[in-house]
Symmetry: C2
Subunit: 557 residues, 2 copies
Amino acid sequence: MLGAKSPEASVYLSNRGNSIRQQQGILQAGFAHYGANRYDIDNPNGVINLGTSENKLCYDLLHKRLTRSDMLHVDPALLQYGDWRGHTFLREAVAEFLTHYCHSPKLLKADNVVVMNGCSALFSCIAAVICDPKDAILIPSPFYGAITEDVQLYSDVKLFHAPLESEDGNEDGRLFHLTVSKLEEAMQRAKQEGVNIRAIILVNPHNPLAEIYTPNEMLSFLQFAKRNEIHAIIDEVYMLTVFDESVTFHSVLSLESLPDPQRTHIMWGLSKDFAMAGNRIGTLYTENQDLVEALTKLGSFHGVTGTSQHQVAQLLQDREWISKEFLPENRRRLKAAHRYLTDELQTMDIHYLDSSATLYVWADFRKFLRSPSFEEELYMWRCFLKHNVVLSCGQAFSCCTPGWFRIVFADQQDHLQLGLKRIREALKEIKESSTNRDFFIVKEASEESERPVNEDSAPSDNATIENSTSSPQSKSSDQLKEKACSVLDTSSLGPDELVLLDCQAAKPAESLDTLIGTLKHQIRSSDWLEKNTPERSAGEDPEILDVFQTLLAQARK
Amino acid sequence: MLGAKSPEASVYLSNRGNSIRQQQGILQAGFAHYGANRYDIDNPNGVINLGTSENKLCYDLLHKRLTRSDMLHVDPALLQYGDWRGHTFLREAVAEFLTHYCHSPKLLKADNVVVMNGCSALFSCIAAVICDPKDAILIPSPFYGAITEDVQLYSDVKLFHAPLESEDGNEDGRLFHLTVSKLEEAMQRAKQEGVNIRAIILVNPHNPLAEIYTPNEMLSFLQFAKRNEIHAIIDEVYMLTVFDESVTFHSVLSLESLPDPQRTHIMWGLSKDFAMAGNRIGTLYTENQDLVEALTKLGSFHGVTGTSQHQVAQLLQDREWISKEFLPENRRRLKAAHRYLTDELQTMDIHYLDSSATLYVWADFRKFLRSPSFEEELYMWRCFLKHNVVLSCGQAFSCCTPGWFRIVFADQQDHLQLGLKRIREALKEIKESSTNRDFFIVKEASEESERPVNEDSAPSDNATIENSTSSPQSKSSDQLKEKACSVLDTSSLGPDELVLLDCQAAKPAESLDTLIGTLKHQIRSSDWLEKNTPERSAGEDPEILDVFQTLLAQARK
């Protein structure tokens, strides 16, 4: 995306700045939709968010702990400049915490800990210092989509996907199964394409699959990394979300020895395991002091307020509270919520990947697609949005099989209940629309690629969908699939496409986030608003009024 | 610096990563020295830090306010993902705060506020979105040196200096006087050199000069920016530190109208005005929504914990406390400390720029230099360090006249007293060493540039001092001065130079920070420590033992 020009570029921003501004993924678009109109008792038509991975089940427990008097501590050292790796007391607390909860065979050291304001910051920094611009990091797909921006926006590093197919079942019947040979294949392809792979990212428990990899599997992946002399970045941010007592998660830090300790770096944070995404703390454990030193130099951009560091250290040191109060109750609630959701999915005859951890379920909506394409998947996502429920569709995770959705269950039961009701209604509408495709229309991908975006406008380069930077493997043989995956590249869309919203003409490649961006631009820079009122649009097509108004409300923000 | 190769590069890092890791400025080196061995009652030989701009006078006031019960507030919204611009309640509080304390003629809007974890983060982000890699930002020098890294490390943007000479007095006798013609000259030079200037950074009250620019002056600078169609980034982070009742600071936000509002962006934070550098909060006020949107996309790397946001909002809204308790008392203490320091400087017959704001004084040590060069200035800085007092020398601020130092006075009087005692001792030693240059030796800059760093080693590229990336104007005619300014470029130093520490052979270009870095590397990767003990070095030259041991202690960390 960097360096790309766009007709809607701001004159005040650089090329890079315009590219950054135009970046908008599906996960972010879903969250923005929710942020603008949240459901609560006073806003019963507000959006239910089953798309963003947050644990909303433990605010009472957290409130009780975080308002204890030990949290309100201020001393001069906390108000002064500190160590950019994090205060020593916090790094010690993190090392002790990880030693205990990761079952490390040896005492982990504070000097190997770097604390920053979140795992996004850590991904960005690590990409900056182990990669040069245009280098790439290998990642099995599907994967948590925001990592794409984490390594790209500042650091200009690409993710190179090792695609897992839903059909990739192993002997145990696990779908989307990751194997070393999948990784080797991707590595081979990268070499052929001249892509310089510097690292692999592995998320365990997995996001969005919720799969837990065994120690032997992780070991084989680490050995793969060692053979290829690439770094292994292990994201274990869901390690304490295992809610089934019969299942054990094994951290990489529990291994007797790491195949390549200088190239193995373990990330963890409080956002998921401690149900506080708003607490910006990410931690890295690495024995590589060169890496620690390099990260420290970037630390001034990612510092955490001293008093917050104190609070986190207090929390991590309170093993009594963690092990005896928080974790058991959190697990109990997660298990119940998971059970509720999966029971409902079974009633709806929707298959999902069985799992015992994380905050979400990876569910198979393929049979509801009117045709197996990412355009149809996006149509379904938008239809959920229209029914005021946010889910995260597979393409937000670069999944290669259309029709999978991630559903977050770590929310109050009445929210889940209402969310599921809305999902049912949306699916009903989709089913009915199979015979009437006038609204939220779809053309086949094969047709689309040859046509201008807006039939009234002349064909132009802008109408061509390209995704050359965000998907290195777009050069691979699987071109049709890639094209489908790239429908959200907003940089290729010009202001002309806005008319699509007005007349709801067919354009499968159009996405909500694109529309929001374009709308904002138009509203600020033209008389478009005067000429295109919701009422007038509604007059032309009454059904779209409420979706349209939601978009406008967001665009005006 | 990006892309530069170095013989001590880590095999685990990319070229960019190695460059980032090797980055170390004088300000950071001074702080590291202090961090490793802080002075307190139990450590009477610890380092007194008059080099880092922190206000250490108000911890009692802050403790009292920050431990009030309103600070201990937790609600679900604070624990969830928020708006990456900052929570609405905080942006509203910032807008109201700035409206009031900047005497804005109109109500400032929350939508024009972006909150990030510190002004470094803001500088980095702004550089990323208004500049492309290799673009430059104009800045009058001397200036707060860390801005160089802020815009360079992630964003690969250079600062282009508009140098102010100490002799540049205006009719009022103000030295280092900034005028529009100075800026125009620099702009002209940039054009000639093919440097693409995208913005100007202006710090008011100034760092390190402590000068306050008048509204008319600021207006003329803003008009200059408008004429040249460049952004103006106004850093007002010291705006509430004015301690002389007869002096008024005028924020750019108090102007009736801005010449180019879409290109004018005002930064402020809590670190200086509220005496809490450890509180990572920086704010930007800008009417440019394109910029706001672009910054928001980078917000996930620079987020602030929700509960911290709440605390800051509580503080900023408490006008009673700010205006009636904190500010009057803070001003009184700053004024007294300033008076104490300047009285002492007068006794020592050291001139300084008279000022009524900030936390430091810009003092003229030129007459103590044994010759007017930056090597001598660095020698003096190191001599202060040896006497366990950190000051910040002019070259850390890219000052073009050697011999100026920034002395921070916002510290307890006994610290100031001891610091000044040590300064006196250091100056005495320097005076005595004028006749004996065996220790901390200096060669003239003119000689140095033609010689290899270590006389025993063969000449190599690494011995050549270059600073092409960090000082765009290095190509200008003023080459000798630039060469002197660039002595701290650590990327050009190889491990061979380490022997300099051992034998203390002459090398003016050697700096403490370089030595620390090299030492750390050597200690970890060789048997150097066995072969080069402090004791053995001391045997060769007893005087260096304690400096050497300090360095080792830091390097072993």
